[in-house]
């Protein structure tokens, strides 16, 4: 196995802060939403923790954004411009997770320094990082101080509309983070992908010759 350096330090830092932060946001979000049914902490503590972690994640987002804007590693996020190619590759990847992996087939995606995402990841992460996550931050900021941002809240249709969007994205992230963690165990060993995100090095099959 050959070791290649795929995940630079800022990306690793961003990833783990995000991971812990999202778990905190989900847990405190559940406590805030289901106060009375769940009693992990006081409502006030949950609100304060949710607010502070939210701001930490917004700051963390800019670490990610600035790193990729000023690094050639941004190529990892460049979209495949041919839809046919993209969907064919995505289907191959889906076929692997849905069938090939059970048979022990090799992963059709080969990680390299500038192509760390498989076709499904590259599409999902672009939508997530450029659309879903910013919307969640924006609605979160509006809900953090509805009075201060009342003009924007009204423009979007009212506090209940903003909250519904925020909750729908929270619902998405709840299942996403569970499935993401599971997919993390599907490397060549169950711990391989987790190790990669700590060390930055990915073990790949050595090329023949």
């Amino acid at each position: 196995m050959e070791r290649i350096y795929v995940h630079p330090l800022p990306v690793r830092l961003w990833h783990w802060v995000n991971a812990v932060g999202f778990v905190v946001m989900i847990v405190t979000g559940i406590q805030i939403r289901y106060v009375g049914l769940i009693d992990m902490m006081s409502f006030k503590t949950a609100v304060n923790l949710h607010n502070w972690t939210g701001f930490l994640l917004i700051g963390n987002f800019f670490i990610w954004l600035l790193f990729y804007l000023f690094s050639d590693k941004i190529k990892a996020y460049h979209p495949e411009l041919s839809p046919t190619k993209h969907f064919r590759a995505s289907f191959r990847q889906l076929q692997y997770y849905g069938y090939g992996i059970f048979r022990g087939d090799p992963n059709p995606h080969h990680v390299s320094v500038y192509r760390k995402f498989n076709p499904m990841q590259s599409m999902l992460y672009q939508v997530m990082m450029m659309l879903i996550v910013p919307i969640q931050f924006y609605t979160g900021i509006l809900l953090w101080d509805v009075k201060r941002f009342s003009a924007a809240v009204d423009m979007l249709g009212g506090v209940r509309v903003v909250d519904t969007v925020h909750v729908l994205i929270f619902i998405f992230f709840t299942s996403y983070i569970l499935i993401h963690a599971y997919l993390g165990t599907l490397g060549h060993t169950p711990a391989a992908h987790f190790k990669e995100m700590f060390t930055g090095y990915v073990e790949v099959e050595e090329k023949d010759g």
Binding site: I32, F43, D154, G157, T164, I171, F172, L178
Partner: protein, 467 residues
């Protein structure tokens, strides 16, 4: 108010008299000490002439509607009153002794006479009268309410006391009509503080509601401005412990927390996003109640779909901007609004409101600001706060934890289930498949081993045979 305008026609002579009287009274009010001395003065000879008849207790006039108008004036009380110095003619300038007869003045009924007489008060107290005209009391009078107060209902006409007398727990006139509210106030921390000897800093009715420009207590911002007039540091104090304190101040009335035993409710008010203010009912063309009644097909209060339909009707009116609903938590009655407790007893536990089934969200009304500012309400089912349809119709009100949309709870449970089920199923499939593949591989291996052993056994036999 045709009667008022009729009564307002004054001659040049009476105007001059009124002007002189107004000047005299103004001067006296400015110099209270001077007034005090003046009030002690004995009555003038013309006043004594009037009282010669009007001090008789049974002096009264039968009116056209068979009511009886008392014409009795207590001489001592009048002499000591603020108006003692201006004498009888100060107000009754139209009375001429020569033509003064019980038969000459036509008075239809007591109420009409009281309303018409307010014009006499306006002659001197124009400023205060203007304030009164903007009050809910005057608005009710204009609407024909038979018990709404005019000047003389609060200020006994022949025993008008100085202002300081009205500003006491014992003599405040508001309690004559609002007895239940006054009793609640008297038992509140404000009332108790005011009752202490020498205590005048604690508010009395007029400190919050103003004496003449009496406002609708349940208008959008309610009397919050009055509360903050004294409790100027309240917002800062709340910000120290209450997240989103400003928002709480906007959507919750002060008594909702500071009257801890009160029954609370949510009032959803029609609000126009373009005008950025509550929608008001136009005078003379009431629509809200008729429309709400028409939308409420079952008659038990508006449910989510009926409320949505009602909002659609209001949005078809062609007014610019969207009409939506904004909510406000308030106490259920005026009595409860005055049961203010010491701040140590105020509600401060978030869970009291921010939890499923919280008592504050069990009662819901939908309202529009009436022409006089008072809300016109219609009942709604509490489910309107939790329905997915309300994302559109009740878009301006949401209390975290308490008003969760049930549909989103179902979506969340499905999402959580899929987040656990997808990995579990995949893992199981992988394990089952691996076992199956292993079994096949083992079978293949054993088969090939058998073949090999057979082959080698055959070879050995063959070898031996060849040997």
């Amino acid at each position: 108010m045709a009667t008022s305008r009729g009564a307002g026609r004054v001659t040049r002579a009476t105007f001059k008299t009124d002007f002189v009287i107004a000047s005299v009274v103004g001067f006296l009010v400015l110099f209270a000490g001077t007034w005090a001395r003046a009030a002690d003065k004995p009555l003038s000879e013309p006043d004594k002439t009037c009282l010669a008849c009007h001090s008789q207790e049974r002096l009264e006039k039968k009116l056209a509607n068979r009511e009886t108008l008392s014409l009795h004036v207590q001489g001592d009380a009048f002499a000591k009153s603020v108006h003692g110095v201006i004498g009888c003619a100060g107000c009754h300038a139209d009375v001429n002794l020569k033509s003064h007869s019980a038969k000459t003045k036509k008075i239809t009924d007591v109420r009409e006479y009281s309303i018409a007489s307010t014009e006499i008060c306006r002659g001197c107290h124009a400023g205060k009268f203007k304030q009164y005209e903007g009050s809910i009391h005057a608005s009710l009078v204009r609407d024909g309410n038979p018990v709404a107060p005019v000047c003389t209902d609060c200020h006994s006409p022949h025993a008008v006391s100085p202002k300081a007398v009205y500003e006491t727990m014992a003599a405040v006139p508001c309690k004559n009509c609002h007895a239940a509210i006054f009793n609640a106030y008297a038992a509140s921390m404000h009332g108790k503080a005011r009752s202490k000897p020498g205590e005048s800093a604690a508010p009395l009715c007029s400190d919050c509601h103003s004496a003449h420009e009496v406002a609708v207590a349940s208008a959008r911002e309610g009397r919050k401005t009055a509360c903050l007039g004294c409790h100027a540091g309240a917002l800062g104090a709340h910000q120290k412990w209450l997240p989103n304190a400003e928002l709480h101040f906007e959507v919750i009335s002060c008594p909702a927390c500071h009257s801890p035993t009160a029954k609370r409710r949510v009032d959803l008010r029609l609000y126009n996003s373009m005008a950025q203010q509550d929608v008001s009912e136009q005078k003379g063309v009431p629509k809200f109640e008729r429309r709400a009644r028409s939308a409420d097909a079952q008659g038990g209060g508006l449910d989510a779909i009926e409320l949505w339909n009602l909002m659609k009707v209001f949005n078809r009116d062609g007014t610019a901007g969207k009409t939506t609903l904004r909510g406000r938590m308030e106490v259920s009655s005026g009595v409860e609004a005055h049961q203010l407790a010491d701040k140590g007893q105020a509600l401060s536990d978030c869970k009291i409101c921010h939890s499923e089934g919280a008592a504050a969200f069990q009662s819901v009304t939908v309202s529009i600001a009436g022409p006089d500012g008072r809300p016109v309400r219609y009942g709604a089912n509490k489910e309107v706060l939790n329905s997915v349809i309300s994302v559109d119709s009740v878009s301006g009100f949401y209390a975290i934890g308490a008003n969760r949309i049930k549909f989103l709870d179902i979506v969340f449970l499905l999402s959580l289930f899929s987040g656990i089920a997808v990995p579990a199923v995949h893992l199981t499939a992988k394990w089952v498949f691996r076992r199956y593949v292993n079994k096949i591989e083992a079978a293949k291996a054993s088969e090939s081993a058998t073949d090999r052993s057979r082959h080698s056994a055959g070879g050995r036999r063959g070898g031996r045979g060849s040997k």
